[in-house]
Amino acid sequence: MPILELRQISKNFGAIRALSGVDLKLEAGEVLGLMGDNGAGKSTMVKIIAGNFPPSGGEILVDGKPVHFDKPIEAREKGIEVVYQDLALCNNLTASANVFLGRELKKGFGPFKWLDHAEMIRRAGLLFAELKSETRPRDLVRQMSGGQRQAVAIARTRLSEPKVVLMDEPTAAISVRQVAEVLDLIRRLRDSGHAVVLISHRMPDVFSVCDRVAVMRRGTKVADKLIKNSSPEEVTGLITGAINVA
């Protein structure tokens, strides 16, 4: 049974049809590359899965059960974590505060609950170490490099045991060495049985880490095939429309 399934998902913004009739299946332990040119509907699809807005039509199933998301937090409760393209970080807070934002660890008794700073810093530090990142939990995000910021956003998804991790352009703004680190992390997520959706423009990243690639063009899915049966040339053709369907 697929861990996440989209059935005939469509989305209209007024008269604009951003997605029409998209089907997608995702199995546990699988990395899916989602590719397409700007405006092809990748981001819309991510936002629907992440619960930013509901689809205009179609169905989303998690573990075979239909779900309906009105808010991102509802998707998160079903085990769907997202690393947003803009990373959704607060510059004025520390790394550990950002990791735990919205699900702070507290201690105390009865109605009196205090933030457990020490434990949050400790656990954030463990997560960064696990990601082999040089990020320090007490540093303000404002002063961090692109890679460190990425690590904070990714560490956040590791707080719970997510079923699906969506990554929107995680390698777009970081150094070459850090790209390798992020790709390693994706592999580690896969090996521990998570499903990962990697939205990327970078063909080498997709071909080095993904098991399967889905290509979007003008709101529809034009291809969905195993990486080993495809090639960068074919995917480029599919993205641009030089190849119609595969």
């Binding site: 970080l89 607060c90 004025n92 919205g102 702070e104 810093i121 530090g125 170490a129």
Partner: protein
């Protein structure tokens, strides 16, 4: 970053070496102190006080200090509430007018010979009603806080005038003496409003530092979109922020009426500016995401001390507005300079 830290410890071992990283502070305590605007305002305040005591010994007298602290306590309490709103990146221009409504409401309740506690709760209730409208429009309809609270500034003031029949209310009935103790009394030689100010300052400082709610305020001010995506109840927290601000203003009004012994509908006129100035001088960022309880209080203290100093130096007190205004601009300018250096 200026100091060299053992950065690479986290990469050498998996989970073994992280203790080396966990202890690393962003800055040392003194660095934090020197970087904080509130600290420099405190220094400025101390210098002004020292100079004034030398220039005019009466400035340092017990009576004068009693008056100064009591005077800035009212604005200080408002500034604490304003800090909460400004941290979220909002602004509340209605607090001065809310004071007017609250003063008149509690005055009328006392005049009608109801007990003192009903006047207190009635006053706070009147403030809460104003803010439910304000806050709901800002939080749930996403209207600009500047416009909404500017509207309430006008509405609440006209309510106060209409409700009071444009007269001063001073016949406080049997509840009067008890009501007046709140704002007019003193304990251990320090005016009651100052005690309230100290109490609320500590409460706010603890809330900002130690609670998830406080952290959510900062997160909303830092990146509202991100706060929303990560599951912070943004709308609710914003509504609560405006509620705190209005209740602080309402409480300041109750203390002020108790101190002056009369309720006038003009109470709090242009106080919103002084409250905003206090928070900004104390280091809060009008763009949101930054601000503290101590800063708000020290900012209001500075404004009041300068006003008092000008009076003692024989300068026309009408110049005070010029100083307050210049201070706001100066503080924002300073913030810009500091912000540039940080980038």
């Amino acid at each position: 970053m200026s100091h060299e830290a053992p950065k690479s410890t986290a990469t050498t071992g998996d989970n073994v070496a992280i203790e080396g990283v966990l202890g690393i502070q962003e800055k040392t305590l003194t660095q934090t102190l020197f970087a904080s605007q509130a600290f420099w305002v405190t220094v400025a305040l101390a210098i002004i006080c020292a100079f004034m005591t030398w220039y005019e010994p009466h400035f340092g007298s017990i009576e004068n200090l009693y008056n100064i602290t009591r005077n800035f306590a009212f604005i200080g309490i408002m500034a604490l509430g304003m800090t909460v709103v400004i941290i979220t990146g909002g602004i509340d221009l209605s607090v001065g007018s809310i004071m007017g409504v609250v003063a008149v409401a509690s005055g009328l309740i006392l005049e009608a010979e109801y007990p003192w506690w009903l006047a207190v709760f009635g006053g706070l209730g009147a403030g809460a009603v104003c803010v439910i409208v304000n806050g709901a429009m800002i939080a749930f309809l996403d209207l600009s806080p500047f416009v909404v609270t500017l509207g309430m500034l006008s509405i609440a003031r006209s309510f106060a005038v209409v409700l009071s029949g444009n007269r001063m209310i001073y016949n406080f009935g049997p509840g009067g003496p008890m009501f007046k103790i709140w704002g007019g009394g003193a304990f251990l030689g320090i005016a009651n409003p100052v005690w309230f100010l100290v109490f609320f300052t500590i409460v706010l400082a603890v809330v900002l530092k130690m609670t998830a709610w406080g952290r959510h305020l900062l997160a909303i001010g830092g990146n509202e979109h991100a706060a929303n995506l990560t599951g912070v109840p943004v709308k609710m927290v914003k509504l609560q922020a405006y509620l705190i601000s209005a209740l602080a203003a309402a409480f300041a009004a109750i203390l002020n009426v108790g101190w002056s012994g009369s309720a006038i509908n003009a109470l709090g006129q242009s106080y919103e500016l002084r409250a905003i100035a206090s928070t900004v001088i104390g280091g809060a960022n009008l763009m949101g995401g930054e601000g503290g309880a101590y800063g708000a209080v020290i900012g209001s203290a500075l404004i009041e001390v300068i006003r008092n100093a000008l009076l003692m130096a024989g300068v026309d007190s009408n110049w005070q507005g010029t100083f307050v205004g210049s201070f706001i601009v100066l503080a924002v300018l300073l913030e810009r300079v500091r912000g540039k250096r940080r980038e």
